[in-house]
């Protein structure tokens, strides 16, 4: 007795299905279905996941899709052959690319072109045939002259398009009154037209338990709630996967409909196993193969990198190039090299990260900045024969923003809009969004949902309230009749797809048409095309991707270098001294605001204990403050061992070579793999499986499977249970965001370079940081104050001196930062460009001259006046505010002549007639600065409040205060963090006029004062002062609001 389900939708039909493809595959396997087809709506979004899980379960995954047709009917098609698959992908691509997102419609007249290799089913209640049957039932055809097709006409049209052998009349039974009438009609139609019948269950979810989710999704799609949805909702829960026995029983009167499912499935030979994907070939000069050309370029690069190529390097290159040749991936290296070359030629900084940093070839080609031989990193981690998909994975960091976009558009230009695409990013329901949508569907009051959201932890960080407690605190009592449904829905919806976005930088390219491999769609961003699969799916199916990741810090570094060069004090990031004392001093004292990766509160609390002394210490610092090592309790042992407070030990003596460089504590992904190889005799393929499990954030189950294997292998080798547990715990927690070593090295490069620039090119560095906002942990206001504490002078915006960006002016000392026009809120880029263009033609001689020549709107003039940018023409800001309001008389010849003869601008404010307005006082100026720029070059708001603060220590006073003393600190909250690894403790940073002071709040204190802590911009915190390992903080005992009639707050960086 066999049956194959050939019509199922998953949650990748986006609100039209309620189970993941994985759930469907598992359920189907448990029901002993030999195969199943996934027909997601207008795409093959879920196909790779079904394929992956089905293959693991020994089941065949058939590819299909439901096509939305122009007449609003839905036609399911199944893929018979690779040609059919290519046709389906191209058909879907064509429909998507000409339509708005989510509104792709296939035209009947284009179906014949793509019908080869596809099988059509007549569909369910949305299908063209059943709709025609219903219309005929209603007698509309008879009573109207409209060109509505009869069921016969529909069937004949399908036969014409697909051929008689490729159309199946689909029947479904869901235990509904009236459906037999339709089925009888379908039966008769099939017989009359000589078409085979096919039983399906039109599956929308794996098991009956998921029907509520589908009802909720229906509500979301129709913008309604369950109480009002009425007949839109499912009538019963029969559209789950059913066993062959159930289906045979359902169709006992029509056995051929069941038998046909098996016959048809056997006919559908195509699976995603062999997509026919090929990476593009790289055009090489005459007389070269790709391999020889790659060798030539690598050797040329080596000579450039090393001068004379050392034997060790030559040997390593030979080794790598041999493997590259064997795996036939030279083209990939050349294409990436070519893109990096494009970046270099266009003055766009580019740096490979990730495992590519393990490759000497990549280093010599200039793709990466890390010399693997120096750090003894393992090339096999990047490329090895044992890997399932032997393709290498190169991620390129680029300056974020326009420069990265130029690179992406260049790739589109080279490979054509249908030859390259961004990988998708599947947006899933997360805690907050699942709760909101479930709550809305349940018709719960908005204020309850708002409170629920505001109590939710931000980002990935878990929070201490469980779902039920959070619900109760939001005003929905446990006894509420809908509370159980709310909780169940929140849980069930988590992780289900909501819609398709685009990955921030992952691109895939193909030899020939990529649109034959995977359907492509328009992204919401203009000029971007996105594939229907995410990067993991692409990787699973052997499609090579290149990640073009935007890093704000890359922009900062590039801008800083250019500013320094312009000022005649160039710096070469490739040649930075790796032992710069000032840079390490800054790191050791946690003076790292603005520095890449090591500026967070947790990093700053570790730096004084870690005391980095060399570059590799920075690598460890970058890697150690991650949830993985912290949760695995690896951070403290490392720090203690480093401080020689505990001995260096190893899980096993055999692991000494693996863990020696990290004092016996596993910190990097590579070490995890080596541990598995040494302790459990994992071979290359198994280690690769472990690597993939460590990289797959989405699959806990995948990790558990590998862990089980690892445990069994270690037990077989007779290792003691405690040691096994320790190793498994380290590996298990590492799965949560642990770093590969090569990645940490790449990031450490950026961290070191940014710290170096902060130490030696401070004005350029701060100017660049301000020009690339938003980025990092701190607001521009905090960055300016940090810069001032480092002796950098920040000069206000001035229409005679400021550029669009912040610039560095040569004056006394290292120079000072001139705030750019970009800082002024309300001044448009085009307005500023007009101003700068006019200034380039001729300097402005007066405000009137400027007003005549530059067209800005009133708000822009006011914004400039308010921040003092017009003070060069006025006695004070209000004077300028008074003047900019004055309308200019157009075309006054005498005025023009007079202006042309006017002397250069007077900056003493006497050029224009003084206004009757009083100048702003100091607090007013600060307020105006914050309101119009979000920062001030003047005093910190806390300096204004200071005279009325008694008994409150400043940040600068804390190091001098006694350990254990009861102190009060106050300031503007610039950071609230509640990491999941901190057991509910909350870290709050307060900024005042002297610096930043840090407080730690216990979970009970935070829960008691949650809203005060999370909502108030200024706080006073009282508690015990602690100086531990050069780290100073206050253990909070009391928190209160700091009243601030005049102060203005900067936004904080919150994770709570």
């Amino acid at each position: 007795m066999r049956y194959v389900e050939l019509h199922a939708r998953s949650a990748f039909s986006f609100l039209r299905g309620a189970s993941t493809p994985e759930q469907l595959a598992e359920k189907a396997a448990s029901l002993a279905l030999p195969a199943m087809a996934l027909c997601d709506r207008d795409g093959v979004y879920g196909a790779p996941r079904l394929f992956g899980r089905a293959t693991e379960a020994g089941m065949r995954a058939i590819v299909g899709a439901e096509l939305s047709l122009e007449d609003e009917t839905v036609l399911p098609v199944l893929v018979e052959s690779r040609k059919g698959y290519q046709n389906l992908c191209q058909l879907l691509t064509r429909a998507h690319l000409r339509s708005e997102k989510g509104k792709a419609r296939v035209r009947w007249d284009e179906l014949p072109e793509f019908a080869e290799g596809l099988i059509a089913l007549t569909g369910d209640e949305e299908g063209p045939l059943v709709k025609a049957v219903h219309r005929t039932d209603l007698g509309r055809k008879a009573n109207s002259n409209s060109p509505i097709e009869t069921p016969f006409e529909v069937l004949r049209r399908l036969k014409n398009v697909f051929g008689s052998e490729r159309v199946y009349v689909e029947i479904q039974r869901h235990h509904l009154r009236g459906e037999e009438r339709t089925n009888n009609a379908l039966l008769q139609l099939a017989r009359a037209e000589g078409l085979p019948l096919l039983a399906t269950n039109g599956v929308l979810y794996a098991s009956v338990a998921e029907r509520p989710v589908l009802d909720v999704f229906t509500c979301i799609r129709h913008h309604t709630h369950l109480d009002a949805a009425g007949l839109l909702l499912a009538q019963n829960n029969e559209r789950c996967l059913k066993s062959p026995e159930q289906m045979v029983a359902l169709f006992r009167d029509c056995p051929e409909a069941i038998e046909n499912t098996v016959r048809l499935a056997e006919r559908l030979e195509f699976t995603l196993e062999n997509l026919g994907y090929e990476f593009p070939e790289f055009p090489v000069p005459e007389g070269h193969t790709m391999d020889s050309f790659l060798r030539e370029q690598a050797l040329a690069g080596a000579r450039e990198r090393y001068g004379h190529v050392p034997e060790k390097v030559r040997h390593q290159l030979d080794h790598e190039l041999a493997l590259i040749r064997k795996l036939k991936v030279a083209g990939y290296f050349l294409i990436v090299w070519d893109i990096v070359r494009f970046c270099r030629e266009n003055r766009i900084m580019a740096q490979g990260r990730g495992s590519a940093a393990n490759s000497t070839v990549c280093f010599c080609l200039g793709i990466t900045a890390v010399d693997p031989l120096r750090f003894h990193t393992l090339f096999e981690r990047f490329l090895s024969e044992g890997r399932k998909n032997a393709w290498p994975d190169i991620d390129i960091d680029l300056p974020s923003g326009e420069r990265r976009e130029r690179v992406i558009q260049e790739v589109y230009r080279r490979y054509g809009p249908q030859g390259a695409a961004m990988t998708a990013n599947v947006i899933t329901f997360r805690g907050r969004s699942a709760a909101r949508e479930a709550g809305k569907a349940l018709n719960l009051p908005n204020d309850v949902l708002n409170r629920f959201s505001s109590l939710y932890a931000n980002g990935d960080f878990p929070h201490t309230l469980d779902l039920t407690a959070q619900m109760e605190r939001s005003g929905l009592p446990r006894e509420h009749p809908r509370a159980p449904a709310f909780v169940a829905l929140c849980r069930a919806m988590q992780g289900l797809p909501r819609h398709l976005g685009q990955h921030s930088g992952g691109m895939i390219i193909s030899q020939g048409k990529l649109s034959s491999i995977v359907p492509l769609e328009n992204a919401s961003m203009p000029n971007r095309v996105v594939a229907q699969w995410d990067k993991d799916d692409c990787e699973d199916l052997g499609i090579i991707k290149v990640d073009f990741l935007g890093l704000g810090m890359m922009s900062v570094l590039q801008d800083s270098v250019e500013l320094a060069r312009e000022r005649g004090r160039p710096v070469d990031l490739a040649q930075l001294p790796q032992d710069d004392a000032r840079t390490f001093e800054m790191m050791q004292s946690a003076d790292t605001i603005g520095v890449f990766q090591i500026e967070s509160r947790a990093q700053m609390a570790t730096l004084p204990r870690m005391k980095p002394k060399c570059f590799y210490d920075v690598v460890i610092e970058v890697a150690i403050i991650r949830p993985g090592p912290i949760q695995g309790r690896l951070m403290h042992p490392y720090l203690k061992r480093r401080a020689k407070r505990e001995p260096v030990t190893y899980y096993h003596p055999d692991l000494k070579p693996v863990l020696e460089r990290t004092l016996g504590v596993p910190l990097f992904q590579e070490q995890m793999l080596e541990i598995a190889m040494v302790m459990a005799d994992f071979n290359g393929a198994e280690a690769e499986e472990l690597r993939r499990a460590l990289s797959f954030h989405r699959s806990q189950e995948r990790m558990q499977r590998v862990e089980k294997k690892l445990r069994a292998a270690m037990e077989r080798k007779g290792h003691p249970p405690q040691m096994i547990e320790e190793i498994l715990s380290a590996i298990g927690s590492f799965a949560l965001y642990g770093f590969p070593e090569s990645h940490a090295i790449s990031f450490a490069h950026l961290a070191y370079a940014s710290a170096y620039l902060k130490a030696h090119r401070a004005p350029e560095f701060y100017a660049s940081l301000l020009n690339n906002q938003p980025m990092g942990f701190y607001s521009p206001a905090t960055l300016v104050k940090d810069g001032q504490r480092h002796g950098v002078r920040f000069r206000p915006v001035c229409v005679l001196r400021s550029d669009w960006n912040c610039t560095v002016e040569d004056d006394s000392g290292d120079g000072s930062v001139r705030l750019g026009l970009c800082i002024v809120r309300g001044l448009s880029r085009t307005g500023a460009e007009r101003l700068l263009a006019q200034r380039r033609i001729r300097a402005f001689t007066s405000l009137n001259d400027m007003k005549r020549r530059v067209r800005l709107n009133k708000d822009e003039w006011r914004a400039l006046a308010e921040v003092g940018a017009l003070n060069c023409f006025a006695a004070h800001r209000r004077d300028a505010l008074w003047e900019v309001e004055k309308e200019l008389r157009e075309g006054d010849l005498f005025d023009e002549v007079a202006l042309a003869q006017t002397a250069p601008p007077s900056t003493n404010g006497q050029a224009e007639k003084a206004s009757p307005l009083a100048p702003m006082n100091y607090p007013e100026r600060i307020r105006a600065d914050y309101s119009a720029m979000g920062l001030t070059t003047g005093a910190h708001p806390m300096a204004l409040l200071r005279p009325r603060l008694t008994g409150i220590l400043r940040a600068a006073d804390l190091p001098g205060a006694r350990h254990g003393a009861r102190v009060r600190i106050a300031g503007n909250v610039i950071c609230r963090q509640r990491p999941g690894t901190a057991k509910g403790f909350v870290f709050v940073s307060l900024e005042d006029e002297t610096g930043v002071s840090n407080a730690i709040l216990s979970p009970p204190l935070f829960e008691a004062q949650r809203l005060l802590v999370t909502q108030e911009p200024f706080l006073v915190i009282e508690g015990r002062l602690q100086h531990i390992d050069n780290v100073t903080h206050v253990r909070a005992e009391r928190i209160e609001r700091l009243e601030h009639d005049t102060a203005v707050a900067v936004p904080s960086y919150d994770f709570h």
Binding site: D215, L231, N236, R482
Partner: protein, 495 residues
């Protein structure tokens, strides 16, 4: 001369008018319509606890954990505005709805020549508004604009004769400049009317244009304007959203009495009586209960009206707690009726209406009316539409008709329903019924078709599921039987 009745914090006042006990508690009002709702008005108790305008609800709660956060209610503001205008109309025939919570009255022809007379008149107006729980401030001056300023500065009545002296110390916001002008003046550091007046007038006009002149004219005693005269609408409505859901009659009656008193008082002012009362109760389930009370003998007698409501409410049962209440009084002129010689009438029509209400109440709520099918899969789901004897029957839509035809076609046979369904025992073999037993029919099932499965409302206590079978007995009669968590039932016989 002109007078202005000004109600400070009008939106909040409109909200608290029917809940005066909240006046002394910390209450903050949010404009929930705005993209980022912030506190816009608050009670003195809330201010004393650190709450201020511009805070979000969460921020307000951070400062004062027991602050009561309420949202603006357009309905209550409309009701308060109408009460204000209707009251003012009783004091002057020429009134203007100047702004929310601001009503300007022309005093010409009212023979209020002396300050003392003006003061007495203004105090009477204020008292009338206070009796409606609208704490007003009254300003009297030579122009509408000055009167408005005087009202804002009044405590609680102010009569202004020397406009310049009076205006100098006022905040410039009192002139009610446009948001753009207010913003600009703030940037200029101009915070008082005196500072504004001190500015160079041509320079000001050059920069602010007509807006500046309009501002200056507001404090000029010689610049008056005609009022945009309004006549208050004949709509008398009160509405309240309950802070806590109402589950018993007592608090409901408490509010209803307040409503009746308010509405009766408002009608008395204009010499009208209540002809109809319309009651709407919003339930937490989202449903709305409606009831109309026709007052056979229109009256504004509070006790009579309230008794009618009380009778109804005493036996009222709702499916869910009440979350809001609306009452509308439709006024009419008092009837002076003389009956014909052979015409019979009731001695007390209101008493008769009350009796009818009692009968309706005895039958149970929702048991009077026309059944209408609910658009849901739940079998037999219907609601009762209250009788609408005056309204013509609604025409059936074309689609509805087609659907009806479709359903008839689907059914084929006509089903005669048993009301109520008869309890039944059904014996199954495997999943199919083979024998049934009930007081209507018992015996062996010859043929069975089904099951037809349906279920729904899984999200709360109303969840249901059922399994229907059509069974044919050996005598050829066809029945519909149902199995559900409540048991097995014989639901009908096919003709």
């Amino acid at each position: 001369m002109f007078a202005v009745a000004f109600i400070p914090d009008f939106s909040l006042r409109a909200l608290l008018r029917l809940e005066p006990e909240l006046q002394s508690r910390p209450v903050a009002l949010l404009d929930s319509e705005s993209p980022k709702p912030v506190v816009i008005q608050l009670t003195p108790a809330a201010r004393a606890r650190g709450v201020e305008e511009g805070l979000t609800a969460s921020q307000a709660m951070a400062r004062c954990s027991d602050v009561l956060i309420r949202s603006r209610s357009a309905a209550r503001e409309t009701a308060a505005t109408e009460a204000l205008l209707q009251t003012a109309y009783a004091f002057s025939p020429v009134i203007e709805e100047t702004a929310p919570g601001v009503c300007t009255l022309e005093l010409k022809g009212l023979a209020l020549d002396t300050d003392s007379a003006l003061h007495t008149w203004a105090e009477r107006l204020r008292q009338a508004l206070v009796s409606l729980n609208l704490d007003a401030q009254i300003g009297v001056a030579a122009t509408p604009a000055l009167a408005a300023l005087a009202a804002r500065a009044a405590a609680p009545v102010r009569i202004v004769r020397d406009s310049l002296t009076f205006a100098s110390d006022l905040p410039v916001a009192a002139l009610d400049p446009s948001p753009e002008t207010a913003n600009l003046l703030e940037r200029w550091g101009i915070r008082t009317v005196g500072a504004l007046l001190a500015l160079d007038r041509p320079g000001l006009a050059e920069r602010l244009g007509s807006d500046a002149l309009a501002l200056l004219e507001r404090v000029s005693p010689g610049r008056t304007r005609p009022l945009r005269q309004v006549v208050p609408r004949d709509v008398f409505e009160e509405r309240i959203e309950f802070e806590n859901e109402i589950e018993t009659a007592e608090p409901l009656l408490f509010v209803l009495r307040r409503f009746v008193e308010q509405l009766a008082r408002r009608l008395e002012v204009i010499h009208l009586v209540v002809g109809e009362l319309h009651l709407n109760l919003g339930l937490s389930s989202g449903a709305v209960y409606e009831h109309a009370f026709r007052i056979p003998a229109p009256t504004s007698h509070v006790e009579t009206l309230f008794r009618m409501l009380q009778t109804h409410v005493d036996t009222l049962r709702t499916d869910a707690p009440i979350v809001w209440l609306r009452m509308e009084a439709r006024p009419c002129r008092p009837k002076l009726h003389q009956f014909g010689l052979f015409e019979t009438t009731l001695k007390d029509p209101n008493q008769f209406a009350e009796t009818l209400a009692r009968l309706t109440a005895l039958c149970g709520p929702g048991r009077v009316g026309t059944p209408v099918r609910e658009p849901t899969h739940r079998p037999d789901a219907f609601r009762l539409r209250p009788p609408q004897f005056d309204a013509p029957p609604a025409p059936i839509a074309h689609d509805e008709l087609l659907l009806h035809m479709q359903q008839k076609l689907d059914k084929g046979l006509q089903l005669r329903r048993l009301r109520e369904a008869v309890e039944m025992e059904i014996e199954f073999f495997g999943e199919r019924p083979i024998r049934v037993h009930s007081r209507v029919v018992s015996g062996v099932v010859a043929r069975a078709r089904g099951p037809f499965l349906s279920s729904g409302e899984w999200w709360d206590d109303n969840r249901w599921s059922r399994e229907e079978w059509d069974v044919q007995m050996t005598d050829g009669v066809l029945y519909r039987v149902v199995r559900s968590p409540q048991g097995c039932f014989l639901e009908g016989v096919y003709d």
